[in-house]
């Protein structure tokens, strides 16, 4: 990381700023109930961060806002407070705080919490992502990539894979808002995505490819469910993709320089 003003919280705050359009349009659509939900998620995650600050001296991070927004947009509907608390606490603690806080985690806490809720309460219906929220993800992604806090390669790889799937005749239409919002909120996480240039392209392409495969072959799956599953699997594979990219780089270097 570049030293100077660039510390972890700068990245987190730029990420929050980049995702502001998504937050604003989602709030405009979800209104009062959405605001209550977002605020209660922010409070829950903030309290967990504070607990770990007191117990383990881990500084709390503004990235809690990003996690809360992702959860508010994608959490299944009709869950009670206890179930939500269980899912959020599981995701945030085991995927982020147990590893030492934001920046040391290997998976996105929101993705893990959503996967937990999805597997734990399969009867709860997934929410529909409004069209304008999906479109708001485009400026969010553009600003994040330009500011250097979101990996451009992941966006490009995902666009490539989904574009290829669309060209092959897969109807992406109804899933586009969920795919775009998932890309901005879950997949383009600067911590949990791959961190080598080639690894990022592969990571994005894997997400796009998995999402396309699920769209084509997973009967009865909701678009959000597809996005969360693809994001979880792509994030799990990210270290492997980095490893492949580094091994290729070493191999080429050895051939060129002997």
């Amino acid at each position: 990381m570049i030293r100077g003003i660039w510390d972890r919280e700068t990245v987190a705050l730029i990420l929050v700023a980049a995702l502001a359009p998504v937050a604003v349009l989602w709030l405009a659509e979800a209104r009062g109930a959405g605001a209550v939900r977002l605020v209660s998620f922010v409070l829950t995650i903030g309290i967990l961060h504070l607990l770990f600050m007191l117990a383990r001296a881990q500084p709390p991070s503004a990235a809690a806002l990003v996690t809360a927004l992702a959860l508010a947009v994608f959490t299944p509907e009709g869950l009670g407070p206890v179930q939500l608390l269980l899912g959020i606490a599981f995701g945030v603690v085991t995927a982020e705080l147990a590893f030492g806080g934001w920046g040391r985690n290997i998976l996105n806490p929101a993705t893990v919490a959503l996967a937990f809720l999805g597997f734990g309460f399969p009867a709860a219906p997934w929410p529909d992502v409004a069209v304008q929220v999906g479109w708001a993800a485009l400026p969010a992604l553009a600003f994040g990539v330009l500011a250097g806090v979101m990996p451009g390669g992941v966006v490009a790889g995902a666009a490539l894979a989904l574009g290829a799937a669309s060209a092959l005749g897969l109807p992406l239409g109804p899933a586009v808002p969920a795919l775009l919002a998932g890309l901005a909120l879950l997949v383009c996480d600067p911590v949990a995505s791959a961190s080598t240039p080639l690894g990022r392209w592969l990571n994005g392409a894997l997400f796009g490819g998995l999402a396309a495969a699920f769209l084509a072959g997973w009967d009865g799956a909701h678009p959000v469910q597809i996005v969360v599953s693809a994001a979880l699997l792509a994030a799990l594979a990210a270290p492997l993709l980095d490893e492949i990219a580094i091994a290729l780089w070493l191999y080429r270097r050895r051939r060129r320089l002997g």
């Binding site: 030293r3 100077g4 510390d7 009670g80 179930q83 269980l86 599981f90 085991t94 147990a98 937990f116 597997f119 734990g120 309460f121 399969p122």
Partner: protein, 219 residues
């Protein structure tokens, strides 16, 4: 002497717990804990097998050639497991069917072989059996905790008796389906290990990597 035996018995319960400290025998601990009754049956079977195996191996410890000691130990353990399996099939047929292959797999449980190999082979029968009993009870403790948690939150019941009325039956409790799937056993065991090592920091392993010291620019 009695104090030492008491320590041999109680050490494996938490301080030297075979499952949470040595991570031995977790495959069966994960597989049979979807309900408390199967977990209890498995815990009792394993405890009986490990105590008897330790006693027998310890009794013949001076006659086992060290080159074939593993074969001898496995024969002893396997014979006991067959007996236990037959007993379960005769008297607890339902549970025996639900435990399926995992009772037979006690033969290959690292915990049993670990105790006979590391303790019973070098100690007289009484301390060996007490050590085996302690380890069996430590294993049982973990199985009961995980089994009770999974059944209570996954189905709202304990030993098949409904404790929390589920939504399907007109109650308020929504079962957490994840608890009945295999990953939840890993989560729960991981959480248990975390809790025990937080309470007893001496169990924590040394860090594999040391983070490099970083400083802000210009300092």
């Amino acid at each position: 002497m009695a104090a030492r035996l008491w320590q041999v018995l109680t050490d494996p319960l938490v301080r030297q717990n075979p499952v949470t400290l040595q991570i031995l025998g977790i495959c069966s601990a994960l597989a049979v804990t979807t309900a408390l009754d199967t977990a209890l049956t498995m815990a009792v079977s394993l405890t009986v097998v490990v105590v008897l195996a330790a006693g027998i191996v310890s009794a013949i410890r001076r006659f086992i050639p060290s080159t074939i000691r593993l074969i001898v130990q496995i024969i002893v353990v396997a014979s006991l497991v067959i007996v236990i399996d037959q007993v379960l099939q005769a008297y607890f047929f339902e549970i025996s069917k639900r435990l399926s292959v995992f009772v037979s797999l006690i033969t290959t449980n690292c915990l049993v072989l670990g105790r006979t190999e590391s303790f019973a082979r070098n100690n007289p029968p009484l301390p060996s059996m007490i050590d085996a009993l302690g380890n069996g009870l430590g294993y049982s403790l973990v199985l009961i905790v995980i089994g009770a948690t999974r059944e209570l939150f996954g189905a709202g019941s304990l030993m098949g008796v409904q404790i929390l009325p589920t939504v399907d039956q007109g109650g308020w409790f929504t079962p957490l389906g994840l608890m009945l799937l295999a990953p939840s056993a890993f989560f729960l065991l991981g959480g248990l290990v975390w809790a025990i090592r937080s309470a007893r920091p001496e169990q924590a392993e040394a860090a594999e990597h040391v983070a490099p010291a970083v400083a802000e620019a210009g300092r």
